[in-house]
Subunit: 430 residues, 2 copies
């Protein structure tokens, strides 16, 4: 399944350039970008067997920075260190190791994550406290620090504005393609760039479908407003995607803003801030959809929209429950318009549901068919409804008809390959 | 995977006879039982293509009766009717149709469920209000009432004490074996029988892993205490099993007590009541384990015990989360002692967790190995830990070391066959 070209809805007022967001066959150096003033790098240092496993983002200027993190109570040492370093609202470099999660590694893991920051600080001149740290990979294994001690200086020497492509490769585990998007928008006549690189599911020695997203921008903004914008946009994007219903120990989304665009610095929720939120929402939605498209074993992208819910929060709960239900996901894999399963999930989701006002539609590029009307069989031709599901992108639209709440969740189907990737490790044990 | 013979721990004081609980090869007429004074029947009436699809339990005497039901807000018409009929605490007959859930069928579904009760009342002489109704199967399809109108009279004519075997077959959908257990215990010198028949996961045209359990006993007890005993025992049994994390629209567990044993009627939480609770707990645990053993595509039974949690409720939350995690389930299928996934699930379960006090063990008939000590790798030979998982029954023991809470959850692995059964319907669409 390959992502398609482009796709942002452009609002002339604020978006002056479409995103560049491509599949594997299109991802070349020019297309992956960081905002002006940022450099990137990615190398192989030996955590993985062959592929790039160490990445850097570096800003020439001081940046406002913000992060959001996994809600898992057990989390990686890198999450602890980054959260700590971001309490001052600044971050000028990001170092990431992929292949090892540095989770379940106790005191030693904390020492190792701090050493990653210290080594990066030494090589780049960025204060240790302004170095953010990320990691993704196998839980319970220590970082091979001797390899990092040799790798980080080499990595830092290679940093360059064109290094975004190498960085995007370095954050991959078994992602089958790199995930990036960028867009430009206009604030007070200044053109602002938002550029994001993300990592989704899949590990060679699989553990977690970790979500990582790193966003750079040349916007001028304080860290409080940057944090609020990131957090709010995540509610409709990163928090609405599910591959297998598991919450990783290593998830994080980070944003760094260096202010180079020269706009009037955003310090309150004004119109400029709204423009940022809208744009960041588009960028994060794009990255989120790329992540679920590349879900382990996924053959289909599943987009579930709930309208007419009692509240937006109820709509979110219901949409997420449908997108992550194993029975819905296997039905989508089987291209079976088994709406009874959707009905059932809505019932146990926890959202307010009135059975006899429920309408359900299935949709794809091939058309749209109502399968449930007022809680019961809409008496359409079942085979036609199944036929819609043979598409690579399948939509389930639910109208609860009880309120104004609305939300969309994204997921993927559950295939034999998910079980193979996550279960059949007999030949692949450490 | 075949269940093994017997297996209740006997406490001399109260249990005078072990359960009869067998796999498919052992299930013959004599081994499936109802309590004295009850009759059963099961026939094929045409809902399914060939197999039995209509079942009856009938009591010669009036019974105290109680039920617990799915928490799904969308539930079968049969759940609505049975809940309504049980408000008076009485139930003397149970009629079940398998193959069609009678869910998502609106007003007509309610009429059909009520007609099932009325037809059964007419044939058995049991007041309509004392007839309980159950169903399981495809959601969104109407019951073929003309077949039931012909079938129910025929079914009722066949009722007999030896009809338990036929009833047990009639409640199956794609269960690969019938699930039953019985035991006897002693109250004030009277021998009491508890006999249960259950239905687990799997549908020919699959929808839900519906759990149904029907228990008969000759105990004398009022319906309030019977309900309390059933509800309390479910907390540690039916509510602690997961096949795919989905809550069916049709789940119910019903118990009928006819008082024939002649014990002093239980009307308060005295010592006799405690004896009942202990025995009912054993019976329901047995039936619960049979249900997960026969989970769709399951190759292994997974038993997760959490000790040392802050509270029992926390232990339940944590144990259930591990037992239903798709990443843990696929690891078990792959016989991979990937304890990082267990750590991760504990972190997001919602239970209170202190990372550096966590101990985790894997266990099977082949031994027991500690894989996590104080939150980090216990540094055992990984291959040996994986080797334990090649057994058909795998146990994960977790000690949180922060309190006294304790609970056990039961699940199964996630195999290719689960995806096949639930996904690959191309050849099987209606």
């Amino acid at each position: 399944m390959r992502p398609k070209r482009g796709g942002f809805k452009l609002t002339d007022k604020i978006l002056v350039e479409d995103s560049r967001c491509e599949g594997p066959e299109l991802a070349d150096h020019e297309k992956v970008e960081l905002a002006p003033g940022f450099s990137g790098a990615g190398i192989h240092c030996g955590i993985k067997r062959k592929r790039k496993d160490l990445g850097l983002i570096y800003s020439e200027d001081e940046c406002s920075a913000a992060g959001i993190y996994t809600q898992n109570k057990i989390c990686s040492a890198s999450v602890h260190v980054t959260r700590d370093h971001l309490t001052n609202g600044r971050g000028r470099a990001l170092i990431i190791a992929s292949g090892v999660a540095n989770t379940g590694t106790g005191e030693q893991g904390m020492k190792d994550a701090k050493e990653m920051a210290r080594l990066t600080s030494k090589e780049t001149g960025v204060p240790e406290n302004d170095v953010l740290v990320a990691s993704t990979g196998v839980i319970g294994v220590r970082l091979p620090m001797e390899k990092l001690r040799a790798g980080i200086p080499r990595l830092c020497r290679q940093k360059a504005p064109a290094g975004a492509y190498d960085f995007a490769h370095a954050v991959r585990t078994t992602d089958t393609f790199i995930k990036h998007a960028a867009l430009r928008f206009n604030i007070g006549g200044k053109v602002i760039t938002l550029a994001g690189i993300a990592k989704g599911s899949g590990m060679v020695h699989p553990n977690m479908a970790t979500i990582l997203a790193f966003i750079t921008t040349d916007l001028a903004i304080n860290s409080q407003m940057l944090h609020k914008a990131l957090r709010d946009s995540a509610a409709d994007t990163y928090n609405m995607i599910s591959i297998d219903g598991e919450t990783s120990t290593n998830d994080m989304a980070l944003i760094m803003a260096n202010g180079r665009a020269g706009n009037r610095r955003i310090t309150s929720p004004d119109e400029d801030y709204d423009t940022l939120c809208y744009s960041l929402g588009l960028l994060n939605k794009k990255l989120s959809k790329l992540i679920v498209r590349d879900g382990e074993g996924a053959t289909k992208l599943l987009e579930v929209t709930v309208e007419g819910a009692a509240t937006d929060e109820d709509a979110r709960i219901a949409a997420r429950a449908v997108a992550k239900s194993t029975l819905v996901k296997t039905a989508m894999f089987g291209e079976d318009a088994n709406w009874g399963r959707i009905l059932c999930v809505l019932g146990y989701s926890g959202a307010q549901v009135v059975e006899d006002t429920l309408d359900i539609y299935v949709k794809s590029s091939k058309g749209r068919i109502q399968v449930v009307e007022s809680g019961i069989d809409a008496m359409v031709d079942y085979r036609s409804a199944c036929n819609l599901l043979t598409d690579e992108e399948v939509l389930i639209d639910i109208n609860m008809n009880i309120g104004e709440g609305r939300a969309t969740a994204y997921g993927c189907d559950l295939s034999y390959d998910y079980v193979r990737i996550n279960g059949d490790l007999r030949s692949n044990r450490r």
